[in-house]
Symmetry: C2
Subunit: 344 residues, 2 copies
């Protein structure tokens, strides 16, 4: 729903003009780093890396970069994307599944006890907000390993990383602060130094050493990201996070009270503030299609849930407005009546 | 000079709007493939892959994709970029240097005899136009190997690949048909089928099987590329190539006749139509800086040669206009006189 709403400032001409290497380009990258440091309160012992590629690219580059430092990478698989991260990482490192959420349809986050058997000298990987499952950690679990990677692609800025309990934060720009094709990484600098012997395009140490200019950077995307960060700074991280919360709370409130619909995630502490997944309490595939068709005809597109979990999904990122959530709840209330009257 | 000139049509709003996954997005990718097929006369047994990342990304992905099929990748190193390609590929495959142009300052292309010792069951890699050296193959050398990779990043469309003597054509969008961050690959389909067992984000077979949607594509960049391809179709490949040739010919004509300047590449058959490298016949470092300073003050930026070869460079891609070349020649004529009068 709100995924495509962050469309800020930058005029077409300027975005394309900045495609070349220039002093302006270097200044833009420096400004992105500065804003990220301020908005995310990044400590001095962390490096901010502005890198090309989306989330999948980073799954690969993180495993590649640290493959000589650690024997194994263990995944807390809380949705489709964590599993993809494991598959991509397995090219370069031994990988293991610490928790497999697929067994329960990704409806729950694991308890601390369920992820105890982690290897202390390995890497652990988890995702703070799960866009497809609709779950989000209120507080990240304690993982006593040498290197802890957290994918914060879908709640970065709305959530500030807990730097004490993380070594690598990965965030593709696509959700809260830009468009697909580039990412922001916050990496404990000592880790980059230890990984220095692994070089090349996929090496985070190489990007760190080259100060973000390892190869020609897609400045077109950087220009969009910079405009988004300025928008975030001007509006305020807190205001934007609360907008998302007001939107998702409205929807959860409706769902918990609805006769025909219900929230997929029953544990309130595990519910995502950004991605609300829900389903029909009692209906066949055709009823789902019918609701989606009527929604699309009203201009409410993108409500179909991810194939890995099915059902419906509404996403609220930093472009979200409360009126969109109200419109959606009104539509679902109407559908509620239609379902009860057997019209769907 | 002309590198940043392809700035066509697409309005800012539409470029950013297309960042999300949508029917329009799929149609855009299909249209890019169609235009590439038509403009490059791609035969039916070649696949057109539209992939994220620039040239360096493809150096990595090609080596990764074919690492199990071939024992070794041999490089005809005709400039800085071919050497970088070898270094990046060496992460995944045994590599070897078939010709090392660095020994002669990248001033010559090798003769057929100089590249005879190639491994017939390996991969060979060469670059059709060398942006930093200023050389270009009039006709690609015959390499009787199982897999021949040609980097055509800087002359694609101006030159149509010789499909009989190549298996993989790689072209990053940045020079002739877009901005940094995405590439076009033309790959013999049978090769992709043979490489099917290698999967993951870096695998070209995976991108082929996923029909270009292996992960979220940077549609912002695709929108720019599509506008550029439409511009190329509307203006005509021949007209654009001839514009580049008229520009570089003017400059070579001046250089061959100049008292103070000379073309770096003396063999006329090896001269690039897109990147003219030149130097002062007799001058110290300070004279170079002085010419560059005066040029910059007149708005003639980007004349500094690549660090790997030094000197000057003027580039003419599809945004090039003859008036730019005339302006440059006029400026250099003036410098010619200044140098002769001892003012530089």
């Amino acid at each position: 729903l709100a995924e495509q709403m962050i469309r800020v400032g930058a005029s077409g001409a300027s975005v394309l003009e900045l495609a070349d290497r220039s002093l302006e380009g270097a200044a833009m990258l420096a400004e992105i780093e500065r804003l990220a440091r301020v908005l995310l309160a990044v400590p001095d012992d962390f490096s901010v890396l502005i890198v090309p590629g989306g989330g999948t690219h980073q799954f690969v580059s993180i495993a590649y970069s640290f493959r000589r430092l650690f024997a194994c990478m263990q995944f807390v698989e809380t949705d489709y994307w964590t599993t993809r991260a494991r598959v991509e990482a397995s090219v370069f490192m031994k990988t293991d599944t610490l928790f497999d959420g697929a067994e329960s349809g990704f409806r729950h986050l694991p308890s601390q006890a369920q992820i105890q058997r982690h290897n202390p000298v390995g890497v652990t990987f988890l995702t703070s907000n799960n866009t497809t499952a609709g779950t989000q950690w209120t507080r990240l679990p304690m993982l006593r390993t040498e290197c802890r990677v957290v994918d914060m692609s879908s709640d970065i800025f709305a959530t500030v990383p807990e730097y004490d309990s993380v070594d690598v934060v990965l965030a593709c720009a696509q959700k809260h602060f830009g468009v697909a094709g580039m990412s922001l990484l916050l990496v404990r600098t000592s880790l980059l130094e230890r990984a220095r012997s692994v070089t090349g395009y996929l090496s985070l140490a190489s990007w760190h050493n080259a100060k973000g200019r390892y190869n020609t950077f897609p400045m077109t995307l950087a220009a969009v990201v910079l405009e988004c960060l300025r928008f975030i700074e001007a509006t305020g991280v807190r205001e934007l996070r609360e907008r998302c919360e007001r939107c998702s709370n409205r929807l959860y409130l409706f769902l918990d009270d609805s006769a025909a619909f219900s929230a997929r995630i029953t544990d309130r502490d595990a519910r995502s503030r950004h991605n609300v997944t829900f389903e029909l309490r009692d209906a066949d595939e055709r009823a789902y299609d019918r609701v989606l068709d009527i929604a699309a005809a009203r201009g409410l597109k993108g409500l179909k849930g991810h194939p890995s979990v099915g059902g419906f999904r509404a996403s609220f990122y930093f472009g979200a407005q409360e009126r969109d959530a109200i419109e959606l709840v009104n539509f679902l209330s109407e559908m509620d009546r239609e379902v009860l009257h057997g019209n769907i």
